[in-house]
Amino acid sequence: MWKTKKDEGPDPITKQEETPSIPSFENRNVSIIPPKTRPSGGKEVMSSGVIHIGKSVCVKGEITGDEDLTIEGKVEGKIELKNHNLVIGSCAQIRAEIAAKNIQIIGSVVGNVIGSERVEIREVGSLEGDIIAPRVNIMDGAHFKGAVDMAKAPASAEKSFSKTESKISFGAPATTEGTA
């Protein structure tokens, strides 16, 4: 009646080992986090395949990808994640145009945000820019200056995603400070 542990599928760590890392992901400062507690994150437990840009990383240029992404560092430019989730962590400072499926803002963002499903600004989050998404959740205490448009969300998001490539790349010139 009850599933044994073996029935639940392969062990996540084994699965991670079998999955080849993304070939285009050459940048040494960005890593795919295995399903273990991040050493630098302390209490954080990252799920399999979530890409993490750490506190000390600064990226200038364009980030596109086909993976979920968590950013704790600084990004200037553009972030596009086709059908994937983006978390702007509490330490993140973003000056970029952002497009993703679900976007959660806990840190600071300056720029317009397009979510094909949902955009959420948490209590300590800050956004100066416009939001286009079918679902928007702005928590009390959040800082927000801009406009919210839920009416034209799907079309705009699709239009934006149409140019997205399924790879993670950094536009030149890229500035890197430290490692994640």
């Binding site: 928007v136 009390d140 205490g141 959040a142 927000f144 200056k145 801009g146 919210v148 009416a151």
Partner: protein, 213 residues
């Protein structure tokens, strides 16, 4: 049957019934404002109050493009700043609204005008009406006319189209340090030559008004 239970309208906030300890009261001014905005095509709305996510969502789901510009926070920052802003609304120390003339179908001013000195109020109202379209509406609240008690710092949450919750601000028991207490006649005079659709005193002695440009 004298009454019937109605299903909540899709896209409208669920009643919150003072769950945050605020005063919930019927608001005819809000009802007029909402019904007018709802009937417009692709309306653009400006919310000048504190960021209340449910308020933004309420109007956004109605089809509005909602612009949020917390003037009270900006006002506090302006007063604290040593340097004057580059652009000032004549007759005030306020930098004004960074929007085009006639852009909005409605403005939620909340208690914005309480934060300005009486002599500044006409110029501030002029700036608010500058960004309103002709025939558009402004909704505003004013604190109690009497100064017998400190004016609590509040924020305003829409419960539904005709109900408004006055809930405590970010800090419990906080009061407004600076507040202008306009008399009823002064408020009505300040909105000349615009058309006041509704003006009433609420149970907590605040006044609410809805005005058409």
């Amino acid at each position: 049957m004298l009454w019937r239970k109605t299903e909540p309208t899709a896209g409208f906030a669920e009643p919150r019934g003072g769950e945050r300890g605020g005063l919930v009261h019927p608001s005819k001014a809000l009802r007029i404002f909402v019904s007018e905005i709802r009937d417009r095509t692709s309306p653009q709305l400006l919310d000048t109050g504190q960021v209340i996510g449910t308020n933004i969502e309420y109007f956004a789901r109605m089809g509005c493009k909602v612009f949020v510009h917390d003037v009270s926070a900006e006002r506090r920052a302006d007063l604290d700043a040593a340097e004057r802003p580059a652009r000032l609304v004549p007759g005030t120390r306020w930098s004004g609204l960074p929007y085009a003339d006639g852009q909005f179908d409605g403005i939620l001013a909340w208690d914005l005008l309480d934060y300005f000195r009486p002599e500044e109020v006409p110029a501030v109202i002029g700036e608010l009406f500058r960004v309103l379209k002709n025939d558009a509406l402004l909704f505003a609240l004013f604190c109690s006319e009497r100064a017998e008690r400190p004016e609590p710092s509040q924020r305003y949450r829409i419960v539904d189209s005709g109900m408004l919750e006055h809930e405590p601000g970010d800090k419990p028991n906080a009061v407004k340090v600076f507040v202008t207490r306009l008399k009823n006649r002064d408020i009505l005079d300040a909105f000349v030559p615009h058309r006041v659709l509704h003006f009433i005193m609420l149970k907590n002695r605040m006044r609410e008004i809805v005005v058409r440009k």
